[in-house]
Symmetry: C2
DNA sequence: AAGCCTAAGTGCAGTATGCACCTAGATGCG
DNA sequence: CGCATCTAGGTGCATACTGCACTTAGGCTT
């Protein structure tokens, strides 16, 4: 759930943890702890979507700076497709939300009419 | 993540598990197993958002039919607000996706300029 | 009676997450 | 210098969520 946003951030600009955190907040993703972010980054590196190098900053300890890989870009593209699908699902939610009863729903008994149900 | 959609379904029409599953598919939520759905329903009942009664169907075993509670309606409203916020986050994602580098991101070194960072 | 279908539920393993805590280098200051 | 503080990253533990496989149990068909 978090990964596509992280990957987008790094695809635009190689970055270390705190910079990525700023991105996520700019996108409106609050409630993301650094612990989760760091673990997500390490996992994405394991998966081959990111690469990292240690680089000294102008102040403080060295940072682990992440770069997106080719596999990461491909995965970002398919993540974008999934996010778009989810956005359409949310749109359908709001199409029904506030529309009142009987907005595209069947009575429980009507279920009996159905012949086959994909499993 | 699943709960708002389930709650919307039941808010429109009291329903049992399989009917709700049809809703979810109509909304575009695939990959939801019945096991997850049943557990989500029981949890929401524990939380006071749903109530259930056993009712015989025209065929087959009795069904557990769920009805939304007042607390459930309130929670649905705040869920809708959260979903809307998430939708806006996705919109921001697509605003940056494909926009190329430097689309609202800083160089790693610029982080040093920041004075305070909320924890 | 046996087998199948519908509806709901459970056990287990793997994954994800938050919270608290830890490591370690860099910097500031008396 | 010695010590506190800040920055950056990371870990351990407990909890929660999820999918897969399996189970329970009533009703229907033949």
């Amino acid at each position: 759930m978090l990964a596509p946003f992280v990957l987008l951030a790094v695809s635009l600009q190689r970055a270390h943890g705190y910079v990525i955190e700023d991105y996520l907040r700019a996108l409106g993703l609050f409630g993301i702890t650094m612990s989760t972010l760091y673990r997500t980054l390490r996992q994405m590196e394991k998966d081959g979507f990111l690469e990292s190098t240690w680089e000294p900053g102008p102040t403080g300890p060295a940072r682990r700076v992440y770069t997106i890989t080719d596999a990461g870009r491909i995965w970002l593209d398919s993540s974008a497709a999934m996010l778009n699908a989810y956005r359409e699902t949310i749109d359908r939610f709001f199409g029904l939300y506030g529309a009142g009863p009987d907005a595209g729903v069947r009575q429980p008994d009507e279920i009996a009419v159905e012949k086959e149900r994909p499993r």
